[in-house]
Symmetry: C2
Subunit: 248 residues, 2 copies
């Protein structure tokens, strides 16, 4: 059997991007993102999987202050509404969070999904209509990981009124804005997700999220061995040794 | 400014995973996937971004022939319906496609989204309700890239009746199956997406999918420079030299 696995060096690049990727809000630096870096990041997004090779995504690159300001207003409005949905102490904590870096980040990118890009009948979308939306999300995740490898932070802003954003960016009816992203160099990448650090929600134990054959199915002896292995990897991740064998 | 970018070696691992990842249907080998590999792939999925650190995903690991057979029946039923949605020559071509490797792949994984995992009000999901579904898709893409680095092929099956799949796998009402994935070692990874090779749909030119400030906005001089760079990278990708400076 031919071995198509990457060398440990190459593997470590991928895993390092996955494990050190963060949602960045407060650490953006004003330095511009060079075209060759932005191009590679967009190439990575464009090579995401898509249902029926539909490639439903487009990328609206936003660098003008006026556009950012208009989008930032939508965030402020929606975020005031959002705060009101939390109660008591939770609301007070919510209001201390910085949840976007729209104005501080040098580049914003809106990733969209054109639902009509390949006509009405799309291979693989015949039974699950949201498959094209999911394809655009895969593009977002590729973009995010490539950005991390390039030293660029990304923050996904999701607190705004969607019809209002479509008006501001002139997005036609058939197109869905999937993600509004802020990109830029950063002063630091936090070691852990900020919501974990401040105690908003803990990292869930992966072994409790894995089941076998059916929902909550506990499986056979082989299942137990896999879960043991997962627990060991989790412990290594907590001790920050999971990547260390690979990291320079 | 501190440089948080990866070294070229590490970068190349990430980009190589992104550019050589394929949707695998017909090339699965029966060799089992070792637990340490499966654990790393699941760890990668679990470290995806999620709205409000919700981590809404679960992973149903399927290795029993009986379960696969039940799911394969759902595919066969839906695929017959799907074929009927294409006309004439397109239908004939569609019927030649192998669109899943459910039975041949040693492991299937259903990635789900539990919409109630963090209660009714979720930070960042207040205005866009589908954000949790998108989080689970990010987990799928992490899993797919990690699998590629491990030499494991992944195929995303999307042709089945979703309520029927929920019944087969015992998935509760509040939980959405996001992706049904087939995993295993492969005889080869194709150089290009199969749908591109057979002429079903071409790779779209990325520079035509990038706009500036607004939908179809053509931007300023700076926009032109970025587009030039993208065209150069695309040409390099077509010539298969885009990664070559990094590849061993």
């Amino acid at each position: 059997m031919e071995n198509h696995a990457f060398t440990d060096d190459l593997k470590s690049g991928l895993y390092r991007a996955i494990f050190t990727r963060r949602d960045v809000r407060g650490e953006f630096l004003p330095e511009p993102v060079p075209d060759e870096v932005l191009s590679r990041i967009l190439m990575a997004a464009h090579h995401a999987p898509s249902v029926g090779f539909m490639q439903p995504w487009s990328f609206i690159v936003i660098r003008a202050h006026e556009t950012k300001r208009d989008v930032h207003r939508l965030f402020e409005q929606a975020n005031a509404e959002a705060a009101g949905m939390f109660d008591g102490e939770r609301r007070e904590v919510y209001e201390t969070f910085k949840l976007e870096g729209i104005l501080e980040s040098p580049v914003n990118i809106c990733v969209t999904c054109d639902r009509d890009r390949a006509g009405p009948v799309v291979l693989g979308r015949t039974h699950i209509k949201s498959m094209d939306l999911y394809s655009s999300v895969c593009a977002v995740q590729n973009l995010w990981l490539a950005a991390r490898a390039e030293g660029i932070g990304v923050g996904w802003v999701s607190i705004y009124d969607q019809p209002a954003l479509k008006r501001v960016l002139g997005i036609p009816r058939r197109v869905v804005p999937i993600a509004y992203l802020c990109l830029g160099y950063v002063s630091c990448f936090h070691k852990k997700p900020e919501l974990e650090t401040v105690g908003w929600r803990p990292r869930l134990p992966l072994d409790e999220l894995v089941c076998f054959e059916t929902w909550e199915g506990s499986g056979d002896e082989g299942a137990g061995l896999l879960l043991e292995r997962i627990r060991a990897d989790q412990e290594a991740a907590r001790q920050e040794t999971f990547l260390s064998e690979w990291l320079e």
